[in-house]
Symmetry: C2
Subunit: 256 residues, 2 copies
């Protein structure tokens, strides 16, 4: 992990760009974080449109996390941003465009081609990022994942024991195989669903929520399109992380 820039944002947050091998990433830490007071970490899974385009929303989530006493970090997804395109992705995306334009249903094979290779490559990269981030003296545990591509969050929740709780966003295609993996998830989950998201298969999202094996899982469905998650829903997700990642702080989330 190699830091390439550092700036102090005006609300007491330090933003550092880094590379991990050839993968770009960003780390946000509250200025109060230090080896003497390491902070818990939230991994911010980005949407698959590249960190540059997603930056405003990611930075807003990171500042919110920092205000709650968390570090936050994200890395570029395979094939997104300036990372090399993968020919198989391009082919699957072209097929998706053709299918949607033709008004045809998106079949299981196409969903598999769009998502499974992405999950297979991204999950080990997030694990490597987690190794590097937890090696920093100012970062401690526990770790949460708050993610844009729900299949990546699902796989991570199964294979990565260092992740203690996850906020997942319903709204991307989910391969059938991931429904099976969902049954193996046991960590507390907070799932956000935009009820009228035009690009989202609502029934698939409800089925996936049903499939998760966690004994504590909550579905919060709200109105508005894909990017229209209301502010109060963001607050509820933040409270979920505070409840699960800041054990010493639990009292603060009970009676006010």
């Amino acid at each position: 992990m190699h830091f390439t820039s550092e700036q102090r944002l005006d609300d007491g947050v330090v933003e550092r760009a880094f590379t991990l091998g050839d993968i770009p990433g960003i780390l946000w830490t509250p200025v109060s974080a230090s080896a003497a007071a390491p902070t818990p970490l939230i991994l911010l899974g980005p949407p698959p449109l590249g960190l540059r385009k997603a930056y405003p929303r990611l930075a807003a989530r990171a500042r919110h996390a920092a205000a709650d006493g968390f570090a936050a970090a994200t890395i570029e997804l395979p094939g997104s941003g300036d990372r090399p395109r993968r020919p198989a992705d391009e082919q699957a995306r072209a097929e998706l465009r053709r299918t949607l334009e033709a008004g045809e249903p998106v079949g299981d094979e196409l969903i598999d081609a769009l998502i499974l290779p992405l999950v297979d490559q991204a999950v080990p990269e997030w694990q490597a990022a987690l190794d590097a981030l937890l090696a920093l003296p100012e970062i401690g545990g526990p770790v949460g994942y708050s993610g844009g591509v729900i299949s990546i969050g699902t796989r991570l929740a199964v294979v990565e024991p260092r992740i203690s709780a996850a906020v997942l966003f319903a709204g991307s295609f989910v391969p059938r195989a991931l429904f099976e993996e969902a049954r193996q998830v046991t960590i507390p989950l907070h799932v956000l669903l935009q009820w009228d998201d035009e690009g989202n298969d609502r029934q698939a999202a409800l089925d996936l929520f049903d499939a998760f094996g966690s004994t504590e899982k909550a579905l919060h469905a709200n109105m508005g399109g894909h990017t229209g998650v209301p502010q109060f829903a963001g607050e509820a997700a933040a409270q979920f992380f505070t409840r699960h990642l800041k054990t010493s702080d639990r009292r603060a989330t009970s009676r006010r």
Copy 2:
């Protein structure tokens, strides 16, 4: 409205039993409520098992509301508690028992017979209670409804303009006619669904949530049976009321 008893609970809440005609009810107010500082009101719709049996849960919700600066009130449902049984109800309930014991599906006609007369009688009673409660100098607006029988809450939200926001509990039978009324609801809604509630038709609950016409509506689905709403879900419902009924207090629910 005639008060029949008054006691001060140990956490600064005054509990008064009352009768409204022949309908028994309970009013809880924070001791700080007075004509000089009237409090907003939350109507607590009880489950149809009688106020005596439901008292512990209702009183807990009322104390929580009082701690947030709300008065809370409830009245006995028609045919519940010590109120006279209605022969048609008894017949419908016997038919329901027979149907469930035979493992048959509960048909639309039976659902209508179980719920529609209850809604038709209960809603004007709640409106009369609201008249009486808002005439008390220590009670002001706005008014929220937090209810046990979702069809009563739905009808009230349509016909009673003094109700500004509602928390509804999915989990009771809903007549087809109420789905039509749901489309006319426009106030902010917060709907709680116990995902694995054995007595609940989950799909009907999701369909009803979809039908509500409100532009702000949120569905919070949690694990656990009918009465197992987790504490954090109760907190989220309380925050919903604070956001909508205590306008001067809005800042307190945004960034912490």
